[in-house]
Symmetry: C2
Subunit: 585 residues, 2 copies
């Protein structure tokens, strides 16, 4: 028995008990002939005391302790004269009478404190020390608790968790699949799942009408800022359901998580917004609706007045920043710089200050009359004291840039409180996306997503206008999950392949295996997959999913703690029947 109690559990009611604790030395300080040690474990911090004069031997021992030494101490619990209200054990201390160094420690490369002096690179390299810090520990505890609550909720709803294969079939479309050479089948490869999509649909065919899995998925792609080559999904599928059933089931799950994890009760139904409206009013399919500031399309009223930038624009959009007419030259320059950043991609920013006295100060005074500005402001619902920010250009690009600008203004105006949550269903996604390069339609989600019943007729006449039974859950501008109702009708599926430009043979080759399963009484089904890492990060209030993953990789897909990936031996390559290309290394 290394301890009788943890460092987080002793209270005033334990005074006079003799206890044994084990933990890491957080601080040692001397004060008035006494030595005080903060002893830390996963559960908290407990103050230890040594009277240097009364116990000389112990006091000598204590002098040799360094930060992060691991010690076992025995002593008596006493009430503290100088109570610390910040920690749960702050009412007591332990007058120790023996100390046993279980393990010494080299000086850590950064401080093990909530605000550490270690940069991210260093913390990742010594992740096992970073894990000792409260914020990291708490994030992983939250992750654990969230997974438990997901499982509890779904189990209560008759969902069963079923493990699907990690070593699966490589598919011709799997350009971003990680592949795994098989030693037993030289020259052949498994693929790691980008999602268990096919398997969960097979489980529906197999009659498991409510499946879920918290499961690792993999994608070998150039990593954007906050992607990981392996990530975790809450993957779900249901049979005998329509879109409404899926949404209500997972809206309830989401509320359950808000309640149990964050103590937040979300009243009423989540708002729903069509993809078309999301694009029109927010320029993105994942709007942050914690604040309004919707786009106003002023193309028709602002073009044709001789201002070339506007006259040439496919789209002119404005947002109204309330009470910002007083913005300084510097602030407006910052915003202009912001929209010109390559990630945002606008060519410039037009502003209209609607001054308190009703006059206007704008960046386009010489092209328009005050009456014009008044019309724009009225259209945008702007009042004196407000500021219009206007972008113009090619529609898609301008919507996207305006979306970024809107979020930036939300930040500046303090409208994006991370402790406020605004969930939203985005629905009615387009079924298909046209690709100019290859001159064909692609499935926006995947080829098994079902079109809306009322739009099926459009599959022949206007495929691009067909809406899908597809939906995303968006919280605070983060896409937390998405899914769809799948096609389970053979004829409709064949039609879909035709629209996607597959010959019968190609469809058979790529999807024959699943199509074959569908011949045996496949039920109507649909599902959803949630990005677990992202959701945990949102609830933990941290920016990066790296903060909620125990051992994350960096943006180059490398684990810098243990230097993976790395080369393997010639012998291993030989056994796998593969060779490195010269270009390889």
């Amino acid at each position: 028995m290394y301890r009788t109690h943890t460092c987080g559990e002793l209270r005033l009611s334990d005074v006079n008990k003799t206890v044994t604790l084990a933990g890491w030395v957080q601080h040692v300080r001397n004060l008035g002939g006494m030595t005080f040690i903060d002893l830390r474990d996963r559960y908290g911090i407990t103050q230890l005391v040594v009277n240097n004069e009364e116990d000389n031997e112990l006091s000598q021992q204590v002098k040799e302790l360094g930060r992060e030494y691991l010690v076992q101490v025995t002593g008596k619990v006493a009430e503290r004269s100088n109570k610390n209200k910040k920690i749960a054990t702050g009412d007591i201390e332990i007058i120790i009478h023996s100390l046993n160094v279980l393990n010494s420690a080299d000086l850590p490369p950064f401080t093990i404190e909530d605000d550490t002096d270690g940069g991210e690179e260093l913390r990742m390299k010594y992740r096992y020390l970073d894990l000792r810090r409260n914020p990291v520990r708490k994030a992983l505890e939250l992750r654990h608790k969230m997974a438990l609550e997901v499982r509890k909720f779904l189990n209560d709803q008759n969902f069963i968790e079923i493990e699907t294969p990690v070593l699966m079939k490589s598919t011709p479309e799997g350009a971003r699949d990680f592949v795994v050479p098989s030693r037993m089948n030289p020259g052949q490869f498994y693929a790691l799942p980008q999602s268990p999509q096919v398997f969960k649909q097979l489980l529906m065919v197999g009659g498991f009408d409510r499946y879920f899995q918290i499961v690792k998925c993999f994608r070998d792609e150039d990593l954007r800022a906050d992607r990981q080559p392996e990530f975790t999904q809450i993957d779900c599928e249901m049979s005998f359901v329509e879109q409404e059933d899926v949404l209500s089931t997972f809206e309830a799950m989401t509320k359950h998580l808000f309640k149990t994890i964050r103590g937040v009760t979300i009243e009423g139904d989540f708002p729903r917004m069509s993809y078309a409206d999301a694009m029109k009013y927010y320029g993105t399919d994942k709007p942050d609706i914690r604040f309004d500031m919707r786009f106003v399309d002023i193309t028709s009223i602002a073009s044709g007045k001789g201002f070339r930038v506007f006259d040439d624009a496919e789209y002119i959009g404005a947002i109204c920043a309330p009470q910002c007419a007083g913005y300084s030259r510097k602030e407006l320059d910052q915003l202009t710089d912001f929209v010109k950043r390559p990630q945002v991609g606008a060519k410039g920013l037009v502003y209209v200050k609607y001054n308190d006295d009703g006059s206007f100060k704008t960046s386009v005074d010489k092209f328009f009359a005050p009456e014009d500005f008044k019309v724009w402001c009225d259209e945008c619902g702007a009042k004196p004291g407000d500021l219009l920010l206007i972008l113009a250009g090619e529609r898609r690009q301008t919507l996207s840039a305006l979306s970024e600008l809107r979020l930036e203004m939300g930040n500046r105006l303090g409208l994006r409180d991370k402790n406020r949550f605004a969930p939203l269903w985005v629905v009615d996604f387009p079924l298909l996306e046209w690709d100019d390069d290859t001159q064909r339609f692609y499935a926006m989600h995947h080829p098994f997503t079902s079109p809306k019943e009322e739009d099926i007729a459009l599959l022949d006449s206007d495929p691009g206008a067909v809406r899908a039974n597809a939906y995303d859950l968006v919280i605070n501008g983060n896409e937390i999950g998405g899914g769809s109702i799948r096609i389970h009708d053979d004829l409709l599926q064949q039609k879909m392949f035709k629209v996607l430009g597959f010959s019968k043979e190609e469809a058979e080759k790529q999807f024959g295996f699943l199509m074959n399963a569908f011949k045996y009484g496949a039920p109507p089904h649909g599902g959803v997959a949630f990005g677990f890492d992202r959701w945990v990060a949102l609830f933990a209030g941290v920016e990066s999913i790296r903060e909620v993953i125990a051992f994350p990789k960096n943006n180059a897909g490398r684990d810098i703690m243990n230097d993976a990936p790395s080369s393997i031996s010639q012998e291993q390559l030989d056994e796998l029947g593969i060779a490195l290309k010269d270009s390889g290394k």
Copy 2:
């Protein structure tokens, strides 16, 4: 809404309700002008009735139904005159008034019945249909429930589940690692974990003193009868513990699972047996102690009497089969054939029938006197009516063969009831194993396993005699789990590497990364990993772990349902910087 109720929930109290069900057609039969349909879903079977004369249109529709058609029906719940006590809905039936075929079905390649006519190969190829069968569904439901109970128990004990990487570092010792080429780092490879051993030890260094994970692990090896290239472990680790703490924690978890999953209360502590005793009395480190029949070493009393086979033997072992003296010639021949099978590997079998009248009939009458047989029988505790079965030869091989023979006798005597459970801790495993080929010691478990305190001195003088703080949980002869207390002391670890024949440089190269982490106040820790598939199979009462895996692979590591692994495109190979060897395919 495709249904108002499932096919498993309607009871007498629902009579007269109008309900809508959806499910698969299990049977259609005509009887006295009525058509009866058994409709099946995951929850059960409900009988539907159509009065052929009253509803001619419906009766025509019903005639076209085939097995596994998916239908939606609406009708009124009625009490059955001819109740079926075998099913939960057997008191009622649905008088249907409308039927909607949701999907037709090709004729299934095998019957969807508890006792199907499909062979394993066919069932695996059409696994999505096999999943509709009750035994398969129930096994996966049991698996789900077990995982939930494991999580519940461990969470209640302050364990937290932490996901460790699937894409990890390939190690020089990882001869059976699956490797994953990285597109972003051409020529470099990740490895899939054979276990999260290193990561869980790092989590202990990181202060998470109670970790667990239900996690996929991978091993690219020639698959024995019941192995899978990917398998699931319940992986656990604790800090500040000694062996006793680990055993008591996981004994409690095991009891919890017995109780909640199988309704079995295990009274008292699990028995413990040293590895030495397990080998001595059962010839295996995973004895099935549902029955006794211990080995008796009769080497000293049976050799030296002129019977060459015995005189040359390093070991002569006997088991006593109670009340089997009446075995026929044929039965004894079967046993002789059994022990001579290559998997068992004995050269022959000696038997001694201790007849009811006190006389002996043996296969070695001409070499020994009745007094000799009496001595052997007394030594073995045999009574008149019993049968001694004796094997002789090289010790290790003979112990192993005798173990197989003991299990075979257990089967013949009906002593291995799969609904009786006999858990056992096997403890005090040797720390090291000598390898004659390479003339060095290898770690029996892994190089971080700690020796028993009292045996440390032997590391210099007699390394082979050193016992480890290592333990296995064995239930009914299955190794369900195993683990050890790890070394956390630097000096002891260095000594261990020395005994294993590592130079300081080699140790650094292979284990430096973990050793470095150990420099920062590593806590005393230890853990255990359970084979989840095996445990589920045991509780489900099935022989093979394939029966408790949704989409298993065959013995060649192939998924015959979707034909994985398979070849990948030249383009993919190029991107990964690898090429196939000519020998490859």
